[in-house]
Symmetry: C2
Amino acid sequence: MHNSSLMLAIDAGGTSTRATLLNTAGECLGYGRSGPGNPVSSGLDRVMHSYREAIEQSLEMAGRALDDFRSLTIAMAGGSTHSPISGMAEAFKTINPSSEVVIESDLLATYFSGTYHGDGYALVAGTGAVCARIRNFSLDRVTDGTGWLLGDHGSGYWIGYHCARAVAADLDGIGPATAMTALLTEQLGLQHSAASFEGRPARLQAMIQTIYALRPIELAAFAVIVFQAAAAGDSVAGDLLSKAGQLLSHSLRTTRSAEVTGPLVLGGSILSSRSVIEDELASELAGQAVFRVPDGLAGAALLALRHAGVRVDQEIFTRIGSSLSALRS
Amino acid sequence: MHNSSLMLAIDAGGTSTRATLLNTAGECLGYGRSGPGNPVSSGLDRVMHSYREAIEQSLEMAGRALDDFRSLTIAMAGGSTHSPISGMAEAFKTINPSSEVVIESDLLATYFSGTYHGDGYALVAGTGAVCARIRNFSLDRVTDGTGWLLGDHGSGYWIGYHCARAVAADLDGIGPATAMTALLTEQLGLQHSAASFEGRPARLQAMIQTIYALRPIELAAFAVIVFQAAAAGDSVAGDLLSKAGQLLSHSLRTTRSAEVTGPLVLGGSILSSRSVIEDELASELAGQAVFRVPDGLAGAALLALRHAGVRVDQEIFTRIGSSLSALRS
């Protein structure tokens, strides 16, 4: 048994990784933030570098050494792909050989960033989109989150993909005019030109070459353009966001069970700001405790505490949140 | 000037390449067929191997040698990506140093496989989907054909992609039950199982791993399943084909001009057999001369003749078709 009672919690996401060092009272003592943390999309070497960096920042802020924690709880996407946990456990031994390593679902971590109740729902829409029903502190049902090609209905990727298609259709003359065309072609650095090549507009030809040089998942970045155009009144963009909201609402409705009546936690960049998406979700949010969370770090801390045998109540949950806020500001 | 009057015409597609040796009367004397011929998707080395193979077969059938033709006309996809024509011209010198090389659009070749009229329309739906207006023997307007990520509305990829998403949604419980699920999971070799892993059906988990190991474009192969399920009365599959037909119909309608009233040539595997897609196209086909073609080889031969200064009339056009049919049978 490790002689320290301190724990490290990590929220490992596709674009960034966050870590916090906490004690058994739920007080967060250090915080760190680094790069990509998903081993499936970024590879084990890259993510181990991210983890080490975030861990070292957390320990340094708390004035602690590399072996001053007894357990390492990592929340990561595990629903859609099998994580290389065996190789990872070995790699962690090089950071702290005596620490226990616990892998948790990022969905649970997001949910427990918003509540300490064992039963409820989480709806997360960032690059992907996934919905979960939580029962007795475990994943009872997960819907969607099946990735850009098979699902992620209403996600940032879904919105960005449909943005690119709408702009291509506009340039092609087979779809309606949209303000997204000027925004996207400018972002891609395409020349304004009325020229035509083999019966096709030169600007569409240039867009094709630019888009196919990207990895498909990078289309998620265009979601910002859709929010921007919709806010300025563009109806094609507005319709896309409405449809995204309907798809997310449908996933949530399908995930519900009469036996689980707890709170709903909303996470991910797509749900972080007010938009028409929220209007479409209104009927699902009505008469329901709703909590918005920026990420899954507080929940990863809660899961670390539970693993250490701590019963997390309102007081401890509040302490996690407030101490983390203080460290992050 | 080459002392032979023979020409070689090649129809270079994404999955196969066809070649024919013909004389100035439009009589095809030899025929060859080989592998992938699109340099963008398969690379220059691979396609040069295909071209050489199809050329050698054609010459052997006609009892001719490698330098017994004066020109080489190659029809290939050039609308959506820039072909490496310079490197290709060099590579052809190794086959026949004295032959002239002419690159033509595969769309024109498909169109001229169905008619010798200089004005008209082509609608091609295979893996991709593209529509063209032809005027004075040239591409006047091209719509769609922007690839799997940006367009190809109603194409084989579009149908196969939506098949995979419908099956994932069915397994996930967020979409309606469909007969495509049994057909696709069987084709992918997924085990029947009611087991669940982290709140998600094991069969969906297995499907995710199988699908993401494919190149996206390979989803086009699932189109067959949609035709099969629709023919057996599955409404989800039937709705997908109806929607594909509507999208193709829309592209064709957008491409029309009152000034171009010629025939319509239909090409590609999706339009080669009777299905609900054709019902959706009915209003576009009514009162219009419609020709169906298996590929673009006859049109590549016609373009080779035109390049040699031959005026292709009904007699020559018919001779190309009948001599080619005899060689292929």
